[in-house]
């Protein structure tokens, strides 16, 4: 069985959990005897190809004189019109540009239809243009490569997945790692929503990372429940690095929030809980590690609550600093308002840090040894933190069994379930 898989990022060049999940998943599939051709918009050359053959979309060039080019275009145009991603280059525009090129012989550069296209592979201003170009590449690849099933990760790659399906006629699986509702609350971007919905409608199967996400997909996108299957994420055991010999210079217990400081992650509930605890117990320090559009507001709130001598901000952490942060922590808190899965608490547990997680996170569905609270219930968050800081019997139990629990969340098992999703699609 061979899968043509479309992703947006791949370790080590990642900005969030998506790349990490894709990496673990492909390694798990390899162990289950599934071949994967993994396509990214921009490859840097230092990605691990132990489990996949990596295809760099930036390397795909198009020749306007090529007969096939028109064919690719024919196969993807419906999508662009339908979702309005690239309103400024509809078919008429393309036709005009194409004719001009034929007449003058001049090279067309810097748009979706140029011969060469440099993907940034980021989430920048040209994102929509990159998504469109990616679909064009997908259409071409799907005719060239030999594979059985197409698998696309998150909305950025759905146009590519659908284009590949249209070109090749092969079945499509889309994988919902997060929905637009998770990212933005109720202020959804209708274009993104549209791409997600269309991708899932055109797909033969939809994989969701939690039952929480599955419900969202069914209730808010109106997708047929019969084709939506939950496969919980797992943990790439090799990714963890517990660093030894981190010396603690602070005598207080350290309670940590680590993640993007955005609406989705509920940072304000962490701060309110911290203030409640600090009013009673000065022997605790709180750390908010990360960056995001709500950071400044959170700093102001901490100042306003007059707890800034016990509540610290580290800014964005990466690599070894994350390991250090876990090594210093006594409790980890993830008060997410909406979290399709949530891998960070698992990293914390692996580093022997007991965790408090919100019931509104997908990971809460599979974890036993974590305190689970409603994100809005600041008192409950404060209680849980206080308990883990002071009742050693509780924290010791959580540390011991939590570590075991995480070690048993293997991608090999999750990938087996994914393989089970693929199998009925093979004709």
């Amino acid at each position: 069985m061979r899968i043509l898989m479309f992703g947006w990022e791949f370790p080590p060049h990642i900005t969030g959990g998506l790349g990490t999940a894709c990496f673990g998943l492909t390694k798990g599939l390899a162990k289950n005897g599934v071949d994967v051709i993994f396509v990214v918009p921009k490859a840097y050359g230092d990605e691990s190809e132990e489990a996949v053959r990596l295809v760099n979309a930036s390397d795909i060039r198009f020749d306007f004189k090529d007969e096939n080019y028109n064919e690719y275009w024919e196969r993807i145009k419906y999508f662009e019109i339908g979702s309005n991603i690239v309103p400024y280059v509809g078919p008429e525009e393309f036709s005009r540009v194409y004719k001009k090129q034929q007449k003058t012989g001049e090279e067309i550069t810097s748009n979706v239809f140029s011969r060469d296209y440099k993907f940034s592979g980021k989430y920048g201003a040209n994102l929509m243009e990159e998504i469109a170009r990616y679909a064009l590449v997908a259409s071409a690849l799907s005719l060239k490569e030999d594979f059985d099933i197409i698998h696309a990760h998150d909305w950025l790659t759905y146009p590519a997945g659908v284009a590949a399906k249209e070109s090749s006629g092969k079945p499509l699986v889309v994988h919902m790692h997060a929905t637009e509702f998770d990212r933005t609350g109720e202020n959804v971007n209708t274009i993104v929503y549209g791409i997600e919905k269309e991708g899932m409608e055109k797909a033969d199967r939809v994989i969701t990372v939690s039952n929480l996400t599955r419900r969202t997909v069914i209730e808010k996108y109106g997708i047929d429940p019969g084709k939506v299957i939950t496969v919980h994420n797992a943990v790439d055991q090799d990714m963890f690095s517990e660093i030894a010999g981190v010396k603690k210079y602070l005598k207080e217990k350290i309670v940590t929030f680590l993640g993007r400081i955005t609406f989705q992650k509920g940072p304000e509930y962490f701060i309110e809980a911290a203030a409640k605890i600090l009013r009673k117990d000065p022997n605790v320090r709180f750390v908010m590690a990360g960056s995001g559009d709500m950071l400044n507001k959170m700093i102001e709130r901490v100042a306003q609550l007059r707890i800034a001598d016990k509540f610290h901000f580290t800014g964005f952490l990466k690599g070894e600093d994350i390991d250090r942060m876990f090594a210093l922590s006594d409790v980890f808190v993830m008060p997410s308002v909406s979290e399709p899965f949530g891998i960070v608490p698992l990293e914390a547990m692996r580093s022997s840090v007991p965790v408090v997680i919100s019931k509104q996170s997908g990971v809460a569905e599979i974890l036993e040894h974590a305190l689970k609270v409603d994100f809005w219930d600041v008192d409950a968050i404060a209680d849980s933190i206080y308990g883990l800081c002071h009742y050693e019997a509780l924290s010791k139990t959580f540390v011991k069994y939590g570590k075991e629990e995480v070690e048993n969340l293997k991608w090999e098992d999750a990938s087996k379930k994914i393989k089970n999703v693929y199998e009925p699609l093979l004709v």
Partner: protein, 522 residues
């Protein structure tokens, strides 16, 4: 005669290094030595040294008609001494002319006047001493950080014995009145106030190179013309500004140095003004009226208030948390802590946290080493968090030392008391037993007596009687007594014992009593 009073503020903060959460409790070096050194070097070369030379030349040229005044923050002086002692020498040369007055301020260029009279007074004394030591003048005029003034601050300054203080001629305080007179504090009439003429001061300090300004370019002709248009009865024009105006805020290319070189000569030829120091003006002029300033003013921004340093949540949090430490810091005996305590008080740290970027954003961002006020706050709080730990530990050890001493003292006292009590108890017991002995001595008490005493006793008693008494006495008693008999007495005793067949109880009683009496009288 009318006077122009030039006052220049010289200050460079100690900028903090990037201090991360991971450093808290571990690393205690807070300063960005490299940046501080580089900036000082740049400002010295572009501003302090060339401008000092210009002023020196002007004093030599115009003699006693040209005078200026300075205050140099203690923090700036510390940095001069550390990084660039040449600057100190250059100011010393100016001091030696006698035409330059050195004012005093808070050592740390701090906002202590808003929080703690003790700390404020302490820092002013420190600064006055340092200024006197370096420049040979005991300061008599006071200027507060950023010209911050209120009635209450005036009282603290007056309590320190100063009779003259500089502040801002803020419009909302003066109303229709002119800043070009000497005023006095409403609450402390002894304290006179010199007010900055902000229009003419800022024409030089801020607008000099502003090409959109209608009076650009500013020439000495224009400036002296404005001076001569001042009403003839107005007595003094106070031109107060940052010394970095010359060469740093206004670059050499703007012509600021040429302007200053030409200004005194043109003032003398085009106006009836001369230059004077604050001290001279304070002693020459009579205050025209009282000035009441219930809420603090400063020379900053359009508002002339404190909002550049205090007022938003971050500034207030940092400021309050810092000064909550004051009492504890004062019990610390670590000189490094006391030093850091000063450096953390510098007003610039709070200025970096200012969020009102809109009207005065340019000036603020020019001086700000941080990208945003949020970065400034986080970095400062990280440093402060570490400082708090050090203060807690040090004041605890101080406390521990003290309580240890107390404990030792009470231990010793306790021991002494115990010993005394034991001795007393023993003595009284001895006395008691002696007394008891005296009252009811028994024959059997001989067992308790020393051999010496027994020997003494034996000399007093008849051997026959002893023989009778010991006839049926317990073995312990006879064993105690007999070895003490002399050879002769022992022979006698043995002879008597042979003869003695039967003893009369009444005899025993009688002789016992006799012996007991002897014991009593030993």
């Amino acid at each position: 005669m009318r006077s122009i009073c030039f006052y220049f503020q010289v200050h460079q903060p100690y900028r903090l290094r990037t201090y991360r959460f991971f450093d808290i409790g571990n690393k205690h070096n807070y300063l960005d030595d490299y940046t501080n050194k580089m900036i000082l070097k740049r400002v010295a070369e572009k501003s302090y040294l060339p401008m000092n030379q210009i002023l020196l030349d002007l004093i030599i040229e115009h003699g006693s008609n040209f005078k200026v005044s300075f205050s140099i923050s203690g923090i700036a002086l510390d940095q001069f001494e550390t990084y660039h002692p040449e600057i100190i020498n250059s100011f010393k040369k100016l001091a030696e002319t006698g035409n330059v007055e050195f004012l005093t301020e808070t050592y740390a260029h701090s906002l202590a006047s808003l929080k703690s009279k003790d700390e404020f007074t302490r820092q002013v004394q420190m600064h006055a001493e340092k200024t006197e030591r370096l420049f040979g003048q005991k300061p008599v005029t006071f200027r507060n950080t950023e010209l911050i003034y209120s009635d209450e601050i005036g009282s603290m300054v007056a309590d320190m014995g100063y009779k003259l203080m500089l502040t801002e001629g803020a419009k909302h305080i003066l109303g229709w009145r002119s800043p070009n007179y000497l005023y006095h504090s409403a609450k402390n009439p002894e304290l006179n106030l010199l007010l900055k003429n902000f229009r003419l001061s800022d024409d030089i300090a801020f607008r000099f190179s502003e090409q959109s300004w209608k009076d650009w370019p500013l020439t000495t002709d224009k400036f002296t013309n404005w001076l001569s248009n001042i009403k003839p009865e107005e007595e003094v024009v106070n031109l107060f500004m940052d010394y970095e105006t010359f060469g740093e805020h206004q670059w050499v290319e703007t012509g600021i140095f040429d302007f200053m070189k030409a200004l005194p000569g043109d003032v003398f030829s085009n106006t009836n003004f001369k230059f004077a120091t604050p001290k001279e003006i304070g002693s020459k002029l009579k205050p025209v009226s009282a000035l009441s300033v219930p809420t603090p003013i400063s020379w900053a921004d359009e508002e002339r208030d404190l909002t550049a340093w205090l007022g938003n949540d971050m500034q207030d949090e940092a400021f309050d948390k810092l000064y909550q430490l004051e009492d504890k810091v004062k019990t610390c005996n670590d000189p490094q802590i006391l030093n850091d305590w000063l450096y953390l008080q510098t007003s610039d740290h709070f200025y970096y946290m200012c969020t009102k970027w809109f009207s005065d954003g340019d000036v603020h961002s020019y001086f700000n080493p941080y990208g945003t006020p949020y970065d400034a706050f986080i970095n400062y709080m990280n440093v402060l968090s570490d400082f708090i730990i050090r203060v807690e530990n040090n004041s605890k050890t101080t406390k521990d030392d003290f309580s240890g001493l107390k404990e030792a003292v009470s231990n010793i006292a306790g021991k002494v008391e115990n010993v005394a009590r034991k001795t007393a108890r023993a003595t009284s017991q001895k006395a008691k037993s002696t007394f008891e002995k005296g009252s009811k001595i028994k024959f059997e008490d001989i067992k308790e007596m020393s051999d010496t005493m027994i020997k003494k006793l034996l000399k007093e008693i008849k051997i026959e009687e002893l023989t009778v008494v010991l006839k049926d006495a317990e073995k312990e008693l006879t064993d105690k007594v007999l070895p003490n008999l002399s050879k002769r007495a022992k022979k006698k005793y043995e002879d008597f014992e042979q003869e003695l067949k039967k003893v009369n109880i009444s005899d025993i009683k009688k002789y016992k009593k006799k012996i007991e009496d002897k014991i009593k009288n030993l």
